[in-house]
Symmetry: C2
């Protein structure tokens, strides 16, 4: 395994493409897939896209600005379930369009920050963890994208948990996580 | 959770978009991501794309034809590691282009089969499992795509397993599977 330090260009290579990845996975899909869940208390692909939209608005870039501003108060806590009210009345296509637009402007703002190695070592106060660096925040933004791409794939795969018959044994994604995870 | 029966149109909705999803995830990415693994004995995103190419050539549609032909011998076993020789000398972009072309012609062939509900109940002999239905084969094709999308996301996420610092606790994808899984 390569355990890499964060480099802004490598992070941006993922961040800028996630809207295209998620749109490729979901845009125009029947509800069989887009509204499937892994069971009670778990999220559908539609819910995940709403969560990503909320993150673009309130989490990553606002926290990066917070660190660079040097203020000592902790970050505002992130609301992990805001999408259950914010997505109301919006179609999957509305949410994908919002995510695409917000991500493009956030990546542009990240690049405009022209972060140096020493900027990446600057710290802010996480409400749970205490000191975190800007580099850790940006690495988390990347991994958070990939985590939700994996979650969408896993949730859709489980629609066919019975339909695959004996092949279930070879399809490890069907055995990852039970209801209650997200 | 919705545990759906297989419907050809729902399956095709996923199958036809997987090349775009995988290309969106990987096309043009730095080697930091494309050649990362989860450790000894695990596959990189590059390896996964080679495996998907081999499946298009030898697994799904050939097995569907085999079932519809009514012959009683078992399917030829599928070589899960063929990509380690077949991908030699090929770039990631070569493999993505092959996967895209092969998948498009395989989906066209699947649609041209105009499968009825009773066709989906027809059986073939799997070398390990014995009787499997055409419907189970097609559901497995879909889940196999999503399994590898999830694997690519997980493998890339782990590049930043250290870089995320204390956020690791919130990023469940970093704790799925150890070296040795694929």
């Amino acid at each position: 395994m390569r355990r890499a330090d964060l480099h802004v260009n490598d992070a941006v290579a993922i961040l800028k493409r996630t809207p295209l990845t998620i749109s490729a996975l979901l845009d125009g899909l029947p509800d069989t897939w887009a509204h499937a869940t892994e069971g009670e208390g778990t999220w559908s692909p539609y819910d995940v896209v709403g969560h990503l939209v909320h993150g673009e608005r309130t989490d990553w870039i606002p926290r990066a600005r917070h660190i660079l501003s040097g203020v000592s108060r902790p970050f505002a806590p992130f609301d992990r379930t805001a999408q259950f009210t914010e997505s109301e009345g919006k179609s999957l296509e509305d949410l994908l369009a919002s995510f695409t637009d917000l991500r493009a402007s956030n990546v542009a703002e990240l690049l405009a920050m022209s972060l140096s190695r020493s900027d990446l070592e600057r710290t802010g106060q996480h409400p749970d963890f205490g000191d975190v660096t800007l580099g850790q925040l940006l690495a988390t933004w990347v991994v958070h994208d990939l985590d939700h791409v994996g979650q969408i794939a896993r949730t859709m795969a489980k629609v066919y948990v019975d339909a695959v018959g004996p092949w279930s044994e070879y399809l490890s994604i069907l055995h990852d996580r039970g209801p209650g995870g997200s």
